[in-house]
Symmetry: C2
Subunit: 231 residues, 2 copies
Amino acid sequence: MAEQLKDLADDRALLGRTSTAERVSDILRSRIAEGYFPPGTRLSEDSIGGALGVSRNTLREAFRLLTHERLLVHELNRGVFVRVLTVEDVEDIYRTRRLVECAVVRGLGEPPYGLDGLTGAVEEGRRAAREGDWKSVGTANIHFHRELVALAASERTAELMRSVFAELRLAFHVVDEPQRLHEPYIARNVAILEALHGGDREKAESLLVGYLDDSLERVVEVYRRRVGEDG
Amino acid sequence: MAEQLKDLADDRALLGRTSTAERVSDILRSRIAEGYFPPGTRLSEDSIGGALGVSRNTLREAFRLLTHERLLVHELNRGVFVRVLTVEDVEDIYRTRRLVECAVVRGLGEPPYGLDGLTGAVEEGRRAAREGDWKSVGTANIHFHRELVALAASERTAELMRSVFAELRLAFHVVDEPQRLHEPYIARNVAILEALHGGDREKAESLLVGYLDDSLERVVEVYRRRVGEDG
DNA sequence: ATTGAGGGATCGTTGAACAATCCTCTACGG
DNA sequence: CCGTAGAGGATTGTTCAACGATCCCTCAAT
């Protein structure tokens, strides 16, 4: 009986999910992630509300959720727009990643660690690479680092980084050279994972620093060129 | 001329700041921070909306903003309540603080650092202590650590910690022994500041770790007793 | 080329309405 | 006396329509 009650408690999160606004925000979030709404797009209350068949109030609540995740920006009396990251934003994202991810690795106790999540993310990336699905490789790389942060076992830290990684995806989408951007990092994730398996935190951290510095450099380089085209 | 335009651009942020929902949330946020609405208080739509002279829709938007900041919790069909932190919440807050604040100190480059903000916060705490205003001492301590995080010069990191510190204040309100809770840490902040002045990052970090561990222990101890009373 | 006025579109906010849910109080039966 | 069931009131959840405010675009005038 106690077990059944526990199972029910686990399902409770799913039940509470019945809010219309949350479902709408789920839809919009994946649309944005897949590039259906490119950065800079204005999301009109009228047209989207009409298309989805929800009231303006509900839609605005969904917008608010996504604004808080930094996927949308709100301009008073002008509406909401899909966020356009500046180069400074990208640099700040990597600054935050370096700060937090390195701190997580450094703060790990003695091995063994729970590395199942990381292993799964690596496998996900390898599979996507075999199929030449480079966008999914990028997603898998993000999953790897999300799992890395999860090792800190801190709800708040995990949530901050979830939002940071969502922003990063915006940058990836602008860049539009997925293979060049994501392929090199599969091997580096593996190296980090192996260092952790061996309990060598220092090595893992230095690999991580190198990873992030290289990745930032590459993203910014392509990003700057890309932004230069438009402006 | 170019300089004047730049100054104007800086003021732009102030101009765009007018939305009734945001202003309402600003009011409620400071009321919560000062303890006018203690944790556990239910915020009725009718009474607050009436008192502030805003419509229910607008008020609910303000509630949502604060719910996203974790200052309020929303219970379906029951309304919103000022958040009551659990012991686990407090532990996670300190876990996050330790991770981030230590990483900030460790990630500092070579001295000198911009320590004006920290110095100002220390002075603020000393002044409040002289006047026996222990709640303000707690606020000053939070300011000190906010300034510490600001040394990382990362907008995202600063924003995460701003929210974490706001949550922490909720715990302080429950504890209600401000002198015992805040006084000992004035001297420890000074010690950290001096270590940073001397460029000794390692010492500053170890002082910080000791500070956070002690503070957590003390808050949790009193907090557990306090929660036990009510339940 | 710059300025200013007008019009259309969109957002911000309000008020009302109705359904759903919760809380309290009462009455009933054991 | 205690526990339970139910009625009623109060509060929230959700949607809709309306009006004012703001922004953007166009076009004419200087």
